[in-house]
C-alpha cells in the first residue's frame, strides 16, 4: 500500500479526533462525538498496519485484541465512583508505552547508524526514515526522543502514585522525602546533564540515567500533592501523556501522533487551569504541593455544631419549596448517588424545585459529580454550575450538603488568613436552612475548620451519607 494512502487516512483521523473533542460541548452531541473518536482511532491503526514500515501485523492484531479484551472488562466493570482511579491507571499505561517507544527509537537509531551505506539501502519503514536523516536531524531526533522518554516516565510513575492515592492504597496526604523540592530540582538537573551527554555521545547510559531520574520525579512530585488537589493532578497527568505522545511523534516523524498529542496535551493543560482557577490557586503552587502558608492565625470558630435527625430533615424538606443539593466526594465514597437521585425524584414529584450545585473541584476528577449524578439518572438540566446557581441561595429554603466540605467553607470569603482564602465557594449558608450530611465532627480533606457547620441556620445530619439518606427516604413518600 502506498504512503499517500496512509497520510490521507491520518488527515481524516486527525479531523475526526478534533471533531470528537469539539463535540463534547454538549451532552447530546457528545454521544456522536465518541463515535468520531472511535472511527478515527480505527482508521489510524488500520492505516498504520497496512502502511509502510509495519510488520508482524498478525502479532499486532492479536495484541490489540488481547489488550482490547482487558480494556473492555475494565470499562464495563468499573464503578462510576472509581472513575478517577481508572483514568489515572490508564494514563500510566500511556506513559509507559511512550517510554518504550522512545527506547525502541533509540535502539533503532543505534542500529541504523552502525550500518554501511548499502545496508541502509535495503532498509524500509522507520529504519529507512532514520537512515535518510542528516547529522543535524539526528541530533534533533535525540532531543525529541529524550523528551518523549522523560515526559513518559514522569507520567508513568506519577499516574501510578495518583492511582494509589485515589484508590486509597497510598496515604492521600502530601508527603515529601527529606529534601523536598531540592530532590526534584536535583533530579531535573541530572536529567539536563544527561540530555547534554546524550546529545553528544548518543550512548545508552545517559538515557537510562535520565529515565531513572524522571521516574523519581514523577513519583516524588505526585506524592507531595495533597488529596484535595487531585483533580488538578489527574488533568495534569492527562496533559503530560499528550505531550509525551507529541514528542514521540516528532522523533518518529509521524504527524498524526503530533496532532493528537498536542490536542490531548492542550486539553489537559486547560483542564488543569480551570481547576486551579476554581480553587484560586496558582498552577505552580499546586504542583509544588500543599497549601500555601497562611499569613496569620486562622479565625476562631465560635458556636457549636447542632445535630438533627432524619425526622427533622424530612419535616423541613416537606415544608420547603426550593431545595439545592451540594454533593461532594463524601457522596462518592458512600455510593449515595442513587439515594440522592431517589430523594430528588420524590421531592420533584411533590412539585418542589430541586437543583444541584456543582463546584468545579467537587470530587477527585474534573466533572466527577456530574458523572455520578448522571449514573443515578438525575436529569442534567437541573445540575448547575457554581456560577449559575450561587446567586440563588438566598431565595432557597433548604440547602443540603452531602459529603462536601471545603467547597462550602465560608472561611474562604470571611477569613483572610484561611489557607483557602479567596477560593470561590458555594454560598450555601445564605439559604434559609442548611443541612450537612457528614460522617463525624472532623475537619475535611484539607484539615481546615469549616465555620459553616457552626452557623445558626446549619444543622448537622451525622452519619454515613447512604445510611442517612436511606433513613430519610423512608420518611418522604
Amino acid at each position: 500500500m502506498e504512503y499517500g494512502f496512509t497520510t490521507a487516512a491520518y488527515v481524516v483521523a486527525a479531523v475526526l479526533f478534533i471533531l470528537s473533542l469539539g463535540g463534547l460541548s454538549g451532552q447530546e452531541s457528545a454521544k456522536r462525538a465518541v463515535w468520531y473518536g472511535i472511527v478515527g482511532m480505527a482508521l489510524a491503526v488500520f492505516a498504520t498496519l497496512v502502511g509502510p514500515g509495519s510488520g508482524l501485523w498478525l502479532l499486532s492484531i492479536l495484541l490489540i485484541a488481547g489488550g482490547g479484551a482487558i480494556g473492555y472488562q475494565l470499562a464495563t466493570r468499573v464503578q462510576m465512583t472509581q472513575m478517577p482511579e481508572l483514568v489515572a491507571a490508564m494514563h500510566s499505561l500511556v506513559g509507559l508505552a511512550a517510554v518504550f517507544v522512545g527506547l525502541i527509537a533509540h535502539i533503532e537509531l543505534g542500529r541504523v547508524m552502525a550500518m554501511g551505506a548499502e545496508e541502509k539501502q535495503a532498509l524500509d519503514g522507520f529504519a529507512k526514515l532514520l537512515a535518510k536523516k542528516s547529522s543535524v536531524e539526528i541530533s534533533i531526533l535525540r532531543v525529541e526522543l529524550f523528551l518523549g522518554i522523560f515526559i513518559g516516565a514522569v507520567t508513568f510513575t506519577g499516574s501510578v502514585v495518583a492511582y494509589g492515592k485515589l484508590a486509597g492504597k497510598l496515604t492521600s496526604a502530601a508527603t515529601k522525602l527529606p529534601g523536598g523540592h531540592m530532590l526534584n530540582a536535583g533530579a531535573a538537573a541530572l536529567s539536563l546533564i544527561a540530555l547534554i551527554w546524550y546529545f553528544n555521545t548518543g550512548g545508552f547510559f545517559p538515557l537510562f540515567l535520565m529515565t531513572l531520574a524522571a521516574l523519581f520525579i514523577g513519583y516524588h512530585l505526585i506524592m507531595g500533592i495533597g488529596g484535595a488537589d487531585m483533580p488538578v493532578v489527574v488533568s495534569m497527568l492527562n496533559s503530560y501523556s499528550g505531550w509525551a505522545a507529541a514528542a514521540i511523534g516528532f522523533s518518529l516523524g509521524n504527524d498524526l501522533l503530533i496532532v493528537v498529542g498536542a490536542l490531548v496535551g492542550s486539553s489537559g493543560a486547560i483542564l488543569s487551569y480551570i481547576m486551579c482557577k476554581a480553587m484560586n490557586r496558582s498552577f505552580v503552587s499546586v504542583i509544588l504541593g500543599g497549601f500555601g502558608g497562611s499569613t496569620g492565625p486562622a479565625m476562631e470558630v465560635e458556636g457549636e455544631q447542632v445535630a438533627i435527625d432524619a425526622d427533622g430533615v424530612a419535616t423541613a424538606l416537606e415544608e420547603a419549596d426550593s431545595v439545592i443539593i451540594i454533593p461532594g466526594y463524601g457522596m462518592a465514597v458512600a455510593q449515595a448517588q442513587q439515594n440522592v437521585a431517589e430523594l430528588t425524584r420524590r421531592l420533584r414529584a411533590k412539585g418542589k424545585e430541586v437543583r444541584f450545585a456543582i463546584h468545579p473541584v467537587a470530587g477527585r476528577l474534573p466533572g466527577h459529580m456530574n458523572v455520578l449524578l448522571a449514573e443515578a439518572k438525575v436529569p442534567y438540566d437541573i445540575v448547575m454550575e457554581m456560577d449559575e446557581i450561587n446567586e440563588d441561595f438566598p431565595e432557597t429554603d433548604v440547602a443540603i450538603v452531602i459529603g462536601s466540605n471545603d467547597i462550602v467553607n465560608p472561611a474562604a470569603q470571611e477569613d483572610p488568613n484561611s489557607p483557602i482564602a479567596g477560593m470561590p465557594v458555594l454560598e450555601c449558608w445564605k439559604a434559609k436552612q442548611v443541612f450537612v450530611s457528614k460522617r463525624g465532627q472532623g475537619t475535611g480533606y484539607s484539615g481546615i475548620e469549616n465555620p459553616l457547620f457552626f452557623k445558626e441556620n446549619t444543622r448537622m445530619f451525622y452519619g454515613d451519607a447512604k445510611a442517612s439518606l436511606d433513613q430519610l427516604l423512608t420518611m418522604i413518600q
Binding site: S25, V45, F100, R111, G367
Partner: protein
C-alpha cells in the same frame, strides 16, 4: 441529686423555674425533681400536672430547700432564702451580682455554689441558656401589647365604610433582643414601625424585621457593638445631641414609643425628654422597658402607669415577663434545663461544676466559699463583623475608560506573547532543518486547535473529556506499530508491550466514555 423549685416569694411574681415538661427532661439527665406546692399555680401549672410528670410536691418552702441539692428559681433570692443554703447546695437563679454585695457575701459565707442566670456569657454556644434574652423577647412582645391596650386606635391602617383609619406609628428605641421583639410584634400588627439604635450595624436586622431604621446625620464612627459583647456603649455628647434632635423631630408624629435602651451596669440613658412628651399627641403611649434602671424617660414611674397632663400614657411596668407567666416560665425553665445539661456532661444526675468551661465559669458567682464575680473575659470572643468596604459606583465614563484600559492591556499582552513566540520560532528555524520545521508547524497549529476546541467543552463533561483524551492519547500505538516490524527481539518485545498497553487504553477509554455519556439524560 435532687432539683427543687420553691414558690417565688416576691409578690406579683407569677413565674416558676420548673415546668412539668422541663422536669421530664431533667429526669432524663438523672435528676429527681421536687416543687413547692402551688409554685406553678400562677403560671398555669397545677400540682397535679407536676405529680403526673413525676415531680415530688413538697408542702413548705423550708422542707423543699432542705430536701434539694440544687435549687432553681427565678428572682434574686432574699436573705431568708440565702440562709437556707449550705456547702452541699447549688443555687441557680437571677442574682444581680453587680448590685447585690450582701447576697454574694452571704452565699460565700454559706459556702454554696451560686449560678447567676444573667451572667451567662453572650456567645452562640450559650444562647440556649441565655435567660436575659428569652425574658427580653417576652418583654418586647408584651410592651407592644400593653401599648395597644392603652392606645385608643387600631395599629393597622384601614379604609372602611365608616371612614379611613390611619395606621399607628411606632418608634422603638434600642434594637436589642427586646427591641427587635417589639419591632416584630408591632409590624405584624400592621403599624408603621421606626426603630433607632446607636449601633449602626443593627440597621440590617431592623430592616429585616420590617421596620425602618432611623439614621442620624452624624459623622462619627460608632464603636462596633460586637467588640463589647453585643451591648451598646456610652456615646459621645455630640452624638447624643444629634440623637435627641432627631427624636424631637419625630415626637409629634409617633403614636407609640417603646424605649429599651440599657447600658450594662449603668443608669438607663435619658432619651425621651420631657419636652418630647409634651410634643406628643394626646392619647399617645410610651412604654419604658428601662424603668427598672431609672427609665429612658424621666417621667416614668417604676411599676406604674401614669397619664401626663397632655394625655400621654407612660407605662413603667417592670414585670412584663411575669405578666405572661405561662410563656416566660416555659422559656425560663428550658434555659435552666439547658444549664443543667451543661453542668451534667455525664447525664448521671451528678453536677460537674467545671470552672474551665467558659459558660459555667462566667455564670458562677460564688464557688466553694469564694466569690468568683466578676468573671474573667470569656476565652472565645464574639466574632466582630468586619465593616464592609463600599465599592463606589462607577460612572459610565469611568467604566468605559476601564474597559478601554483592559482591552489595551489585553492587546499588549497578546502582542508581547506573539512577538516572543514568533522570535523563538525564528530562532529554532535558524538552527533546525526544514523537515523538523514541517512537523513543528503541525504541532503549533494543533496546540492552537486544541485550546480553541477544549474551551467549548461543557463543565459537566470534563470527566468524559478526560476519558476520551486518555483513549486517543493511546495513539502512541502508532509509534509501536511502526517499529514492531523492524529489528531485534528486544525491539519487538518492547513494541509488543506498548501495543498491548495501548490496546487496553483504546478500548477501555472509549467504552468507559460511552458508558458515561449514555447516562446523561434530560428531564
Amino acid at each position: 441529686m435532687k432539683i427543687g423549685t420553691p414558690k417565688e416569694v416576691i409578690t406579683g411574681e407569677a413565674r416558676v423555674a420548673m415546668t412539668p415538661e422541663s422536669a421530664r427532661q431533667l429526669q432524663k439527665l438523672g435528676y429527681d425533681c421536687a416543687i413547692e406546692s402551688g409554685a406553678g399555680l400562677l403560671a398555669g401549672f397545677s400540682d397535679a400536672t407536676y405529680e403526673e410528670a413525676g415531680v415530688e410536691v413538697i408542702k413548705t418552702a423550708a422542707a423543699l430547700w432542705k430536701a434539694s441539692d440544687i435549687i432553681a428559681k427565678v428572682r434574686q433570692p432574699n436573705e431568708a432564702e440565702l440562709k437556707r443554703l449550705n456547702k452541699a447546695k447549688t443555687l441557680i437563679s437571677f442574682f444581680n451580682p453587680g448590685g447585690n454585695e450582701e447576697g454574694l457575701e452571704l452565699a460565700k459565707a454559706k459556702g454554696a455554689n451560686v449560678v447567676a442566670m444573667e451572667m451567662v456569657p453572650r456567645i452562640s454556644r450559650a444562647q440556649k441558656m441565655d435567660a436575659l434574652s428569652s425574658m427580653a423577647n417576652i418583654a418586647g412582645y408584651r410592651a407592644v401589647i400593653e401599648a395597644g391596650n392603652n392606645f385608643g386606635r387600631f395599629f393597622t391602617g384601614q379604609i372602611t365604610a365608616a371612614g379611613k383609619v390611619p395606621p399607628a406609628k411606632v418608634l422603638v428605641v434600642g434594637a436589642g433582643v427586646a427591641g427587635l421583639a417589639a419591632i416584630g410584634t408591632s409590624t405584624s400588627l400592621g403599624a408603621i414601625t421606626l426603630a433607632f439604635d446607636v449601633r449602626p450595624e443593627v440597621a440590617e436586622q431592623v430592616e429585616s424585621m420590617g421596620a425602618e431604621f432611623v439614621y442620624l446625620d452624624f459623622e462619627e464612627e460608632q464603636a462596633d457593638g460586637a467588640s463589647s459583647g453585643g451591648y451598646a456603649s456610652v456615646s459621645s455628647p455630640e452624638f447624643r445631641e444629634a440623637q435627641l434632635a432627631k427624636f424631637r423631630e419625630l415626637a409629634p408624629e409617633v403614636d407609640i414609643v417603646i424605649t429599651t435602651a440599657l447600658i450594662p451596669n449603668r443608669e438607663a440613658p435619658e432619651l425621651w425628654t420631657e419636652d418630647m412628651v409634651q410634643a406628643m399627641k394626646p392619647g399617645s403611649v410610651i412604654v419604658d422597658l428601662a424603668a427598672e434602671k431609672g427609665g429612658n424617660c424621666k417621667l416614668t414611674v417604676m411599676d406604674e402607669k401614669i397619664v401626663t397632663e397632655n394625655g400621654v400614657t407612660i407605662i413603667g411596668y417592670t414585670d412584663f415577663p411575669s405578666r405572661m407567666a405561662a410563656q416566660s416560665s416555659t422559656l425560663y425553665a428550658t434555659n435552666i434545663r439547658h444549664m443543667m445539661t451543661d453542668l451534667t456532661p455525664e447525664k448521671d444526675g451528678q453536677i460537674n461544676h467545671d470552672m474551665e468551661d467558659d459558660v459555667i465559669r462566667g455564670a458562677t458567682v460564688t464557688h466553694q466559699g469564694e466569690i468568683t464575680f466578676p468573671p474573667p473575659p470569656p476565652k472565645v470572643q464574639a466574632i466582630a463583623a468586619k465593616p464592609k468596604e463600599v465599592v463606589p459606583e462607577l460612572t459610565p465614563e469611568e467604566k468605559r475608560a476601564e474597559e478601554v484600559a483592559a482591552f489595551k492591556a489585553q492587546t499588549k499582552q497578546q502582542v508581547t506573547l506573539l512577538a516572543v513566540g514568533g522570535a523563538l520560532l525564528l530562532l529554532v528555524g535558524l538552527v533546525a532543518p526544514a523537515s523538523f520545521m514541517q512537523h513543528f508547524i503541525v504541532f503549533v497549529l494543533s496546540v492552537f486547535i486544541g485550546f480553541q476546541v477544549i474551551w467549548g467543552v461543557a463543565h459537566s463533561l470534563h470527566t468524559p473529556l478526560m476519558a476520551v483524551t486518555n483513549a486517543i492519547s493511546s495513539i502512541i500505538i502508532l509509534g509501536a506499530l511502526m517499529q514492531i516490524g523492524s529489528g531485534s527481539f528486544l525491539v519487538i518485545l518492547l513494541a509488543a508491550l506498548s501495543v498491548f498497553m495501548a490496546g487496553i487504553n483504546i478500548f477501555g477509554g472509549f467504552l468507559v466514555t460511552r458508558r458515561m455519556l449514555a447516562m446523561f439524560q434530560k428531564s
